[in-house]
Subunit: 490 residues, 2 copies
């Protein structure tokens, strides 16, 4: 049927699980049709909103289209869309920010209510009726298993060669029935290449012919290049002293300029035999595969800009055995992250002098995107780095602050902080020594004196205890000043 006919089957108030992990493999036609339907209902004075569950962020034609018509009442588990973000922060959309590896389990337990409809993009349906995923897996297996009704978007744009690049673990269950996940190398497979289609659930099949929709990556700015340089130097140091093998350990990196710069930096320097165990494969990672630097990459999605996506789509089969796409419950699973000893690199909004990291909330209240998989990886990583430029918003914000305004990664889980200024390696250090290092190595010079002054006054008389000296009346004053005056500077 066409997308409008399919969208007509989704009732107001439904919870809809959509495929999509970044702008890859997301449902491309039904969400827009649903948005048109919601707009018409609202114009007629009829309330119409749905709950939208996905793998992670999606594309404008899903999150943006539905948010623009005020069609989402609750969104989870991650987003990065400007309109969605605006609704979350003006209080008109509820948002549950969840570790990506926890979503499938929580849905199965019923904490978000019934999953009424799943809308899943597939690249093809095999002759024996099995579903072949496309450029992301995300929560597709979980949505298909848990939804009351299933809509399939068969996207003819997607390569017919996808079969064999996915590893769908179909035995996820709740304890006490869980079994060990026997992955000991990034490329190991523990599942199947496609999954059976529950025919009795299928209420619509919609054919599409639409490309994935990730933005092309920006060229890295100077700060990103400097941060990448520091991180690569750290890796070389760890190899030199024998703490990392020459082929490193499986790389994980969040999406973004810095990690693109890091990965591009690995094209030179003689790296060989690397692996990745991560959430998304970006263009820079694909370049490492093409260059023979990276042997194999495991992820849950291909996050490629339009040109790279089109090129990759023509050559999907060529990457069989070197790219494995898994459900996000497996790509981000703590068991595997810990065992493999992943090298995690994630962006942050701010860090404080004692090593706590805020990944989600601007000024403690305003949601940016969400924690995504950063917690899945950071807590269990062999080496967990958080990266950001030392200032933001034209230098008015210091990303190194006395106390973060929200904590997503605690002092116990943050190994290394990197800004363009340098590296603070916090492993094994007690709090007051961490503070000196973070200020001297990572803070922007304009803010260093004031940060040292804060610690000095807290340490000499001001604080209630000297394990982690804080002046509670001042700890969040930098953020408060920004809210009131538009700058953290005095």
């Amino acid at each position: 049927m066409d997308a409008d006919a399919a969208a007509a089957l989704i009732p107001a108030g439904a919870n809809v699980g959509m495929s999509g992990f970044t702008g890859a493999g997301h449902a491309k036609a039904v969400p827009s049709a649903l948005a048109r339907r919601i707009r018409a209902a609202h114009a007629a004075g009829t309330p119409f909103r749905v709950g939208v569950w996905t793998g992670a962020s999606t594309a404008h034609e899903l999150d943006g289209a539905l948010a623009e018509v005020d069609g989402i009442d609750l969104r989870m588990p991650y987003q990065s869309d400007p309109v969605t973000r605006a609704h979350i922060n003006d209080g008109s959309m509820e948002y549950v920010d969840v570790h990506l590896s926890h979503v499938a389990q929580m849905v199965r337990e019923g904490f978000f209510g019934t999953l009424d409809v799943a809308v899943i993009e597939v690249s093809s349906i095999t002759e024996d009726g099995r579903l072949v995923m496309s450029s992301s897996v995300g929560n597709n297996v979980s949505w298909i298993e848990n939804a009351d009704a299933l809509m399939l978007e068969v996207n003819h744009w997607q390569s017919e060669e996808w079969h064999g690049l996915h590893d769908l673990y179909l035995h996820s269950t709740l304890p006490p029935h869980r079994r060990p996940l026997l992955i000991t190398h990034a490329g190991d497979r523990i599942g199947e290449g496609s999954m059976p289609c529950p025919l009795d659930k299928v209420i619509a099949v919609v054919e599409t012919h639409a490309p994935d929709a990730n933005p092309a990556p920006h060229a890295p700015d100077a700060a990103s290049e400097q941060i990448a340089g520091h991180l690569l130097e750290l890796y070389r140091h760890e190899v030199r002293i024998g703490r990392l093998p020459a082929a490193l350990l499986p790389l994980q990196s969040g999406v973004g300029n810095v990690t693109n710069a890091v990965l591009r930096g690995m094209l030179d320097g003689g790296w060989r035999g690397l692996t990745a165990y991560t959430e998304v494969i970006q263009e820079s990672m694909l370049e490492l595969l093409d260059a023979g630097v990276l042997d194999v990459a495991s992820a849950s999605a291909m996050t490629l800009g339009p040109e790279a996506a089109a090129r990759f789509n023509d050559e999907v089969g060529h990457y069989r055995g070197r790219i494995v796409l898994r459900p996000q419950a497996i790509s981000n699973h703590p068991e595997i992250v810990r065992r493999l000893g992943v090298l995690a690199t994630n962006g942050m909004i701010e860090a404080d002098i004692y090593g706590n990291v805020n990944s989600t909330h601007l000024m403690g209240s305003r949601m940016m995107n969400g924690i995504g998989g950063s917690g899945d990886f950071a807590r269990n990583a062999f080496l967990s780095c958080f990266v950001s430029a030392s200032t933001a918003k034209g230098g008015t914000i210091s990303t190194i602050v006395p106390m973060v305004s929200h904590v997503d990664h605690t002092e116990h889980d943050v190994h290394v902080i990197i800004t363009e200024q340098g590296i603070a390696d916090l492993r094994g250090l007690p709090p007051r020594r961490r503070a000196r290092l973070v200020i001297d190595n990572c803070a922007h010079p304009d803010f260093r004196a004031e940060l040292h002054d804060y610690v000095d006054r807290a340490t000499h008389g001001g604080a209630y205890g000297l394990q982690t000296p804080h002046l509670l009346g001042e700890a969040l004053s930098w953020h408060q000043r920004f809210v009131e005056t538009g700058t953290m500077r005095r």
Copy 2:
């Protein structure tokens, strides 16, 4: 040799790894002898301090004795001793507060420097020269493997029947060589009952005859009984709706009055076939084993008061197959915690209205004990509960606050908060709904109106964004008021 002769072999500035996880299986003679030596050195004007690494907290004769003579320069990974705590908070002792499951890995990587000497209590040495641990395992395997020199305290007080109750995983390694840990039931064994003794490292063998030294548990107070009642009702509810099996899932509980009350509460109510996968086996857990309610308990230590310890010591062999003591890297391992689906219950200092938990710092600066294993369990648990009375210090402190003054467990990792007032089940809820539930169900009535007023003002105009509405100028004002006036009450 005697303990003084052994202590004479420990040089000033050494890092010393001691056995001990709670006042169980801790080195009992050498630490006191070392304290005497340090006191004499200080009296003679000679500086003498050491780094002290353990499994977790120990007993007064270890932590207390060394802290009283100002003999510790850096302590890790956990403590609960009043003198040690005072030194940490007056800034004279450095303290690194580490997830207990991460310690062995970090030591192996060298982040705390060289482990110069290990002092390990054993219950016996077998005829073929293997070491049999006693009432705790903690980091013993790691200390023995990593230390330059080894001292053994053979404690004749400990039962000779300990052999067979330990499961020593001797294949811990760093990635990329880690293998799956094939534990799928709390009682499964993946290691050996004893470990080879590296004879070339042994520089002292000291015979002792001293009991373990845990305090007798207090009778639970009314608040603890009420909290226990709420938690048991939650378990019954989860069983009723089919989200937990009738035999529950493996229990984990921190040490303390509340968890004692919970476990005692399980003696009645028809529970059968339960298991525990936890850090410490307390008296109440032993009672559950004796009563046939609990089938098997896995932990890293036996934390029994003097009478129960003496009684247990006479019957150790009787528990073979029903008690398994493991290295803390395994008892707390995220891989196993996640797979088994542990039901975690841990105490807290305070929680905030959005579900962030502070387990470590009074008023954001003063260290209480440490995070211990709470993070290992909470992040990966199937159900993670944090418990506390709703007030402390004679009602001057509300343990439910607008914003916690330190975060050890983020909003993403806290499933349920319980006080004597009731339960806030936060699973699946967005922040503003969490706030209402935490205030109405968990805060003490004296503080509820002020908490609601805070959220209302933050939500209606005050906050920078409405995902997690905060008033940054007030968020920590309750703590600041306590520091200034001795009460959070206006």
